[in-house]
């Protein structure tokens, strides 16, 4: 919060102070409760409608709190409904069934390794411990999962549940149906949070605009969009921030990492901007790891967003195949390394005049995955089918002799169960070679996927202040808007449990 002392006031100058006094949406600091007449009163107000928001909302409502969820988009769930629906749970019932030996320590070690050991271990531990509770919560809402556990890159053991419909919506939709039926919960869509209302230093409510309509044509919606009518909502017990990351905020992400081009594509929904995060920083919240932005290495430059190719690459090319430098025909990375390692390796090629790497696998690999995934990607034209390696090499301009040599070498590694070049765990790829025609090729590019950094919270999901080094009274946060938990980079299927667990924790503690 900008503290206006007398000296500060003169420094700001009359105009700046005038703007603060006028309560301009963009620049003003929080609003004083005494000057406010509330339109509606609640116990808990939650910003967002994804995993973290729904988990927090359901938990708080079950305690008897009167809850309001505000979502600026027309769509419920933000990124939570457009992801792969993968949820890692330590010591889960399915692990018991499958006889998988797991432990919280092992989970934390896997995550810390991917996170370059700058993770906040106390937060990570909460996810490890409470994962089963989160699983119970979503199953109670009606979420269904595949019978078999998945084993994702970077995890020592299989621990990942996959939503039965193959999408994150398989978890969100039942949660949303559940929360809509609760009599003490109100969900307002197309309602945009603008500012906090304070009583002393305590967060006691928000101002928001109803009938707000996000405009993806604007360069900076948070800043330019003035639509909607202003409302004041009281939050007697506090406010939970669950508004997600900022992968689509071109200004803010470039400030964090100037290497990211303005036109860089993201797998996120267009509403993933930094607005709420910045308001919390204004209140004094500690920023953590904000410049660590994660790219998904499995995307394709021939389409927008997550698209049809990503699932194909995750399931087939990277697991059962290879990724090669189109110029040299040689491999350049461990195709199953953590996301940051892969994205860095790929960007080295892409930044060389858009020399997109080519991901390759064969028919045996495709036969191992859900047929829908391959079919959709092929029909979309982002994955292409070739009768021979010669044809594939010619199509992408790869030197064919080198490519054949690379494939031969890789096949030998698979047979030997060891990859001395890049350390891909080829002993866990079911012995699949690149040998049986037809062969499949995709252009690869990493896309902005997850903003690792955000607000500092404690193990009770309270937001910590830089000024007092203690929790900001009445302010909680959960999910991608928080930072530190996963360090520099997170493993796949670790975001959903983060959102669900800390949403639940926030709902319990508020």
């Amino acid at each position: 919060m900008a503290k206006i002392t007398r000296r500060n006031f003169f420094k700001l100058g009359a105009v700046g102070a005038g703007m603060l006094a006028l309560g301009n949406n963009v620049n003003a600091s929080a609003i004083d409760s005494k000057k406010v007449k509330y339109d509606e009163e609640y116990d808990v107000v939650i910003i967002g409608s994804g995993y973290a928001a729904l988990s927090a909302g359901i938990t708080a409502a079950k305690k008897g709190d009167k809850v309001l969820l505000v979502e600026k988009m027309g769509r419920i769930g933000g990124n939570s409904v457009i992801n792969g629906g993968l949820l890692a749970v330590v010591n889960s019932p399915k692990q018991k069934v499958e006889g998988v030996q797991d432990s919280i320590d092992l989970y934390m070690e896997d995550s810390m390794k991917a996170g370059r050991y700058i993770n906040h271990p106390d937060l990570l531990k909460v996810i490890g411990k409470r994962g089963n509770d989160a699983l119970k919560l979503v199953e109670e809402c009606g979420a269904k999962f595949y019978d078999k556990l998945s084993h994702l890159g970077g995890h020592s053991v299989p621990r990942t549940y996959l939503a039965a419909n193959g999408s994150g919506s398989g978890i969100v939709l039942p949660m949303f149906d559940y929360i809509e039926k609760l009599p003490n919960v109100t969900v307002k869509r197309r309602t945009k949070f603008d500012d906090f209302i304070l009583e002393g230093d305590r967060v006691i409510g928000i101002t928001a605009r109803e009938k707000y309509k996000f405009d993806s044509k604007l360069k900076d919606d948070d800043f330019e969009n003035k639509s909607g009518t202003k409302k004041y909502f009281k939050a007697k017990k506090g406010v939970i921030l669950a508004s997600g990351g900022f992968s689509c905020d071109t200004f803010y992400r470039t400030q964090q990492d100037p290497k990211i081009p303005a036109d860089a594509d993201s797998t996120n929904q267009p509403g993933a901007t930094a607005g709420v995060l910045l308001k919390a920083f204004e209140l004094g919240a500690v920023p953590v790891h904000v410049s660590w932005i994660q790219f998904g290495p499995w995307a394709c430059p021939d389409e927008k967003g997550f698209g049809a190719a990503s699932n194909f690459n995750i399931n087939a090319s990277f697991r059962y195949g290879i990724s090669v430098n189109a110029k040299t025909g040689k491999r350049y990375m461990n195709e199953l390394a953590d996301r940051r390692t892969r994205a860095t390796a790929m960007f080295k090629l892409v930044n060389d005049n858009k020399n997109y790497p080519i991901n390759i696998c064969d028919q045996v690999a495709v036969d191992k995955i859900i047929p829908d995934i391959a079919e959709k990607a092929l029909k979309a034209g982002v994955v292409k089918k070739y009768n021979s390696i010669d044809e594939l090499a010619a199509a992408y301009g790869i030197p064919v002799a080198e490519l054949k040599q690379t494939i031969g070498k890789y096949n030998d590694y698979v047979k030997a169960g060891q990859d001395p070049d890049f350390g891909k765990p080829v002993d866990k790829t079911d012995g699949v070679l690149i040998a049986k025609a037809p062969f499949y090729g995709t252009k690869g590019v990493p896309k902005l996927h997850h903003t690792m950094g955000g607000l500092k919270i404690n193990t009770k999901a309270q937001v910590i202040s830089s000024y007092t080094k203690a929790p900001i009274p009445g302010l909680y946060a959960a999910g991608e808007i928080t930072g530190g938990t996963h360090g520099a980079s997170r493993l796949g299927s670790c975001s959903i449990p983060d959102c669900l667990v800390f949403g639940m924790v926030a709902g319990e503690n508020i």
């Binding site: 769509r75 919506s169 197309r190 049809a308 959709k376 034209g381």
Partner: protein, 146 residues
């Protein structure tokens, strides 16, 4: 004879004028609003709505009579005729085989606002193309949004 002819002429003229005025009146659902050709051009209707000769205040209920002051309507106005999203989804049930039924999709269920894709006075858009650009562009599993 001449007189009779003149009489017939007049009677038919009067009835013609009367018929015309009747027609004028019945053009719109309500006569309280003046729809000029300029307004019609500025706020064109979708083909199917145009065919039904719907006028502005069929949807813009209780927003006065000046089209320039009209605001976007809530979707209950759409659902007044189009029943419910589940009903609409049922009509496109064949799309469920790929979980791509736009009114009950794998991602959103029946929860999307109509105007997320359908626009009345502007060309419609397809929200799915935010992520599924290629599939939409090539009409692989969906046509242009009506």
């Amino acid at each position: 004879m001449k007189k009779v002819l003149i009489l017939i002429y007049f009677i038919s003229l009067i009835s013609l004028i009367y018929a015309n005025s009747q027609k004028e009146e019945s053009n719109a659902l309500s006569s309280s609003i003046k729809i000029t050709p300029e307004i019609k051009k500025k706020y064109p209707l979708k083909h199917s709505h145009n065919k039904l000769s719907l006028d502005c205040i069929f949807c813009h209920v209780g927003q006065g009579v000046n089209p320039e002051n009209f605001e976007a309507v809530d979707e209950d106005k759409c659902l007044f005729c189009h029943k419910s999203k589940i009903y609409l989804a049922k009509r496109l049930e064949f799309m469920d085989t790929l979980k791509a039924n736009p009114h009950n999709s794998v991602h959103d269920g029946p929860n999307l606002y109509c105007d997320e894709c359908h626009r009345e006075h502007k060309p419609s858009v397809n929200m799915c193309s935010e992520c599924h650009l290629k599939e939409i562009k090539n009409n692989i599993w969906m046509k242009d949004t009506p």
